[in-house]
């Protein structure tokens, strides 16, 4: 009777992929919910972390390994709960592999030229975009563009879910 047919969506778009994954992980988290009382701030914080991680993970999985930032994010999420030793060795491996790219970045930190950007802001951007530490400016901008696009999708989907479920 109240059959609501949503408008046709591209089933392989980033948005639908992310939405399906995220809803699935949300339902999993909800299944775990009654175990602990969610009144204390720490509990809330823990749950918030779990949801955020689920959101990031579903976003990264939707992008697969096509992008550097998604690979970096997936790697970070995977090694996060595990031991710290593996983190250090893999970090070193990553850095040595990308050292030659770092050379380009060091030469490109000049200011004043009309096209080359100052190194300070580029470094700040590198911190923000996952996996951006070992990228030269050009690829970094590319990754940033895709990352921004994915973040906006993520925010839109999460907003719609919240609107749908909360009242």
């Amino acid at each position: 009777m109240n059959k609501y047919n949503p408008p046709r969506m591209n089933p392989s778009s980033l948005r639908s992929r992310f939405a399906t994954r995220f809803l699935r992980s949300l339902s999993e988290i909800n299944a775990q919910k009654p175990t602990a009382s969610s009144s204390s701030p720490t509990e809330i914080f823990r749950r918030y972390r779990r949801i955020k991680v689920a959101a990031d993970k579903s976003m990264a999985y939707s992008v697969r390994s096509r992008r550097t930032w998604s690979r970096a994010m997936l790697w970070k999420l995977r090694t996060r709960p595990c031991g710290r030793r593996s983190v250090k060795t893999s970090t070193i491996v990553r850095k040595t592999r990308h050292e030659k790219q770092n050379k380009n970045t060091t030469t490109a930190t000049t200011t004043g030229e009309d096209g080359v950007v100052s190194g300070v802001e580029a470094d700040e951007l590198r911190e923000l975009v996952p996996g951006g530490e070992a990228m030269d400016l050009y690829n970094l901008l590319d990754e940033t563009a895709h990352y921004i696009k994915c973040l906006t999708t993520q925010v839109q989907v999460m907003k719609k879910i919240a609107d749908f479920y909360s009242p």
Partner: protein, 392 residues
Amino acid sequence: MQPACSREMQAMDSLLNPTHHLPLQDLQIHGHPPPQFDNPTPSHDDFLEQMLSTASFPLSSSSWSDIDDNAFPQGGDGGSNPFQAMKMMMMMQQQLLVAGGPSAAATGGTHQGGGEGSNSITSMQALFNGFGDGSFSHPQPSFGADSKTDINQSQGPAATTAAPEKPKQKVRARRGQATDPHSIAERLRRVRIAERMKALQELVPNANKTDKASMLDEIIDYVKFLQLQVKVLSMSRLGGAAAVAPLVADMPSEGGGDCVQTSANGGGVSLPRNSNGDQPSSANDSLTVTEHQVAKLMEEDMGSAMQYLQGKGLCLMPISLATAISTANSHSRSPMINHVNPNNGANGNHLLLQSSGGGGDGPSSPSMSVLTVQSATLGNGGVDGAASVSKP
């Protein structure tokens, strides 16, 4: 004639420059910016053969006059064709160089003439050497055009044919460019980065590209904002948090702005802040500081963020809710309500704090919180954003 040629040369420069192909020297004569040129390749071969054939000739004015005779008909034919014009320019320049040479050699008089003559002679020898070497065949025509434009622009319309730097003539390709592969790569890199910045500019809402540095700052702020938004949205998933002490806000989708708004319940803390002389600006400053601190805290630990907010007597609520509250309360306590307009340009993307003074009275605040709950339930019918507000 020279100014006209320089203009055409500049037109060619502008035509050829936007192309992004790597071997820029090859672009000069080859058919890469070819849509503008008709039959560049065959003419290029003709041109080269002509130059090579002249290279074999001894340096004599007769040969150059032959070239002139050959050149001018071509130039006359393709007068409109910029490529032909360039060739014609090349011929003329070399003719000028040669003319300067022999005459100077003949006179041997003035220092300038002698200098020019020696310059031109060595330049011509350099040219011939360049032509003999096949690998330099490409830069040559462009070189000629290049030094021609340089001459025209740096030395004015004077007919001084002193080549700018004689030993570097061989390798200088075009005006503003160099055959140094590093600088070419650098230039390409800059162009590509500019492209990327333009693409990013479309993504980021605040898109007035004054310069690269400010654009990068905008991008950084926007990424931070998006990440913060994800965090806050994931907070709102805590579902049924009405009973929970710290609160939860959702981002209302209307209003055009994705703003999280806090409103003050406790009056004591907010009043001194609001009673400053210039209310909006001072409130803005203090609120901005507060909101930055809240944002920082939210990243680390939600609990501490909530405690901080509670200490300030603030809570989170959507803008629509707060406006509903303010309109509901306007008749009762308007003088104590201080609004910060959420969607002003500068603050469009940032967290917003709104303080509505509670008057510092105990009995009123419970009623106010009751009001908020009521308006929350009432307002959700027409409002997308759902928020659970609880009294701290």
